[in-house]
């Protein structure tokens, strides 16, 4: 065996000419400048988009309304109802008129914001965190852990989540509150977050800088938390924002079907459901809560879309 004879290299080494990079250009890079990354790039893009600011303003407004409805209306949504005002026309103090029960429509919309937003945020707190956790575990460990988690996700994904929520809500009809509704929606929406998280972790895991980290002898878990997750999280945040919008719609749909929040709880879905019988004589009672619902969902959808377009260079090129 002559395996230890090294073949002699005959070719000359080619060295790229260094003179092509002007030294002046290197001097111009200021080390004190903040290094640009995915998020600073996205921010630089986002802050020039009016639609982004409009959606942020609406989201903040609705959050304030949900936390402190008393700031916006002095009229009680359910204590000052007079049946004599049933389906009454708007007046100076009751700008949107009255419901069938003679309650102030504007006040009911203001007080109904809390239910919608809290269900939305609870759903993403549950399904977003579960999905991100299971997805990153599946992507990080791979192998049978990945197979088991993803097949499990397939099962939950195969049932349209509103249908699943209808079944869960019929089962727990006696114990309905905001948490149960959020759980019913979140229990079947986590796989979409998990899928995105997993594919992002897989993508980042195979990139060169992670391999460099491994080669330098960095611990697997440290690598995961310091390098893989921060680079994989952006699309997950976008999906989470969009599923927040979907959760608000889902809550309203469930309440509309009568299997969401109980009738006593103030929510836009319940109000729209109550107003449907008087659609012809008094469409305003149905239309105003619908507008509030639509603007809320639209704000989150636009926020998510803007975020997605700014974070994804491919989408930025499509504009």
């Amino acid at each position: 065996m002559s395996s230890n004879t090294v073949p002699r290299r005959s070719a000359e080494h080619f060295v790229a000419p260094v003179s092509e990079t002007p030294v002046a250009a290197i001097d111009q890079v200021k080390l004190s400048d903040k290094r640009s990354n995915l998020w600073t790039d996205a921010w630089r893009d986002l802050r020039h988009r009016p639609l982004f600011w409009v959606s942020v303003a609406f989201i903040l407004l609705f959050i304030v309304v949900a936390i402190a409805p008393g700031l916006f209306t002095q009229v009680s949504p359910d204590k000052q109802c007079v049946l004599g005002n049933s389906n009454g026309a708007p007046t100076a103090e009751h700008i949107l008129g009255y419901t069938k029960q003679g309650c102030d429509v504007f006040s009911r919309i203001v007080h109904g914001a809390g239910a919608s937003l809290s269900v939305g945020f609870l759903v993403i707190a549950m399904s977003g965190i579960t999905g991100a956790l299971l997805g990153s575990v599946a992507g990080f460990f791979g192998g049978w852990v990945d197979s088991v988690l993803m097949r499990l996700g397939d099962i939950f994904f195969s049932i349209p989540y509103i249908l699943a929520a209808v079944v869960i809500m019929s089962v727990f009809a006696a114990y309905v509150n905001v948490f149960v509704v959020a759980l019913a929606i979140g229990a079947f929406t986590w796989p979409s977050t998990a899928r995105v998280m997993r594919s992002e972790v897989l993508r980042v895991k195979n990139s060169d800088f992670v391999m460099a980290g491994t080669a330098l002898g960095q611990n697997r878990f440290a690598l995961m938390f310091k390098h893989v997750l921060p680079n994989a999280i952006a699309p997950v945040i976008v999906v989470t924002t969009l599923s927040l919008a979907a959760a608000i719609t889902a809550e309203a749909t469930l309440s509309f079907l009568g299997v969401g929040l109980p009738a006593g709880v103030m929510s836009w879905g319940n109000d729209i459901s109550d107003a449907q019988s008087d659609l012809r004589s008094n469409p305003a009672t149905l239309i105003y809560p619908s507008i509030a619902l639509t603007i809320t969902v639209l704000s989150f959808v636009i926020f998510g879309e803007m975020l997605r377009e700014s974070l994804d260079p491919k989408a930025r090129a499509q504009r």
Binding site: R151, L152, D154, I155, F156, S158, I159, P160, I162, L163, A164, V166, V167, I168, S170, V171, A173, A174, A245, T249, A252, T253, F256, L257, G258, V259, I272, Q276, L279, R280, P283, L286, I287, S290, L293, T294, V297, L298, V301, I302, E305, A315, Q318, R319
Partner: protein, 309 residues
């Protein structure tokens, strides 16, 4: 191809078992005694209770009960609805109506969505593109039942273009308004998808080649751009189907269309839990089958799919 078909069907089996198990588990976890509930406030004979329990295998352990249920599902026996009719008989009456409605909605959605998406993609950044973005985001955000009421109120009641409810006679012209409403809830995703796909296809080398061969703009767009852009749109149909099922439930309920969705809607409104569960099971099975079929059709259309391991 045969290998791909077999593998796709085998993959569906654990999902089928999982979904039915999940639904059954939820029903099993329902509080209250289902047999006692049958009698309402009356005190039934204990002998009769025992007999009923044995008839429905309620004394067996959970897993045995589940296997009985799975046997019923596989053999196509979905039990009886609240009114005493067998679910199969109800399905036989209602499926043709829902199928007609769904097909009309999908055709409308495809035509409108692809047309708007194509024009928006070709005129990227122009006024048409921006307004189609705003409109599609709006339709993406309005819940289906609000679209239903608006359609019913404006098109049906104010303008009198369509009958406001459908009723027993579910002929094509009477189904048009519910179909438009259902299509409106789906069209936004289709517009966005077609637009993105058209823009991506336009950047391909084969499009540049087609132009440089001297083909007319119309021919390049029709033959080269549109056909290649439609692939992701076709795949989306499978996911759309889930939205369609929920949408049909709400739309048929509001417009009083005598379909599967309305039966489920009525059962939900009246709190008839066993009927709700039977119909949801049927819908989920239907959804699984449709998605398998779409995957197979897709594999026929695009050979790359069936060769990927």
């Amino acid at each position: 191809m045969v290998f791909y078909v077999i593998r796709r069907i085998l993959q569906a089996i654990p999902v089928l078992i999982g979904t039915t198990f999940l639904i059954y588990f939820l029903v099993f976890a329902m509080p209250g005694d289902p047999v006692a509930a049958l009698f309402g406030d009356k005190q039934p004979n204990p002998e009769l209770l025992k007999e009923l329990r044995e008839q429905y295998h309620l004394n067996e352990p959970f897993i045995v009960q589940y296997l009985y249920y799975l046997r019923d599902v596989v053999t196509g026996n979905f039990g009886t609805s609240f009114s005493g009719q067998s679910v199969n008989a109800v399905l036989a009456d209602t499926i043709p109506v829902t199928a007609r409605l769904a097909l009309m909605a999908v055709v409308l959605e495809m035509i409108v969505g692809v047309a708007i998406g194509l024009v928006a993609g070709l005129r990227k950044g122009k006024l048409f593109d921006l307004s189609s973005l705003v409109v599609s985001l709006l339709f993406l955000s309005v819940p289906i039942f609000v679209i239903c009421f608006l359609g019913q109120f404006l098109l049906g009641f104010k303008l009198g273009l369509f009958p406001t409810t459908v009723g027993a006679d579910a002929s094509l012209p009477r189904l048009l308004l519910p179909a438009i409403v259902l299509a409106a809830s789906l069209v936004a995703v289709n517009i966005r998808l077609t637009r993105g796909s058209v823009i991506e296809t336009l950047g391909n080398d084969f499009v540049r080649t087609a132009f440089s061969k001297g083909l007319s703009r119309g021919r390049v767009i029709r033959v080269h751009v549109l056909r290649n852009s439609l692939i992701p749109v076709t795949t989306q149909l499978g996911a759309d189907f889930g939205i369609l099922l929920v949408g049909a439930t709400v739309t048929e309920g509001i417009f009083n269309v005598p379909g599967v969705g309305q039966t489920l809607y009525q059962a939900i409104i009246r709190g008839e839990r066993p009927t709700v569960v039977s119909f949801v099971t049927v819908m989920v099975l239907f959804y699984l089958v449709v998605n398998i079929v779409i995957d197979l059709v897709y594999a026929v259309l695009d050979p790359r799919i069936r060769y990927v391991k």
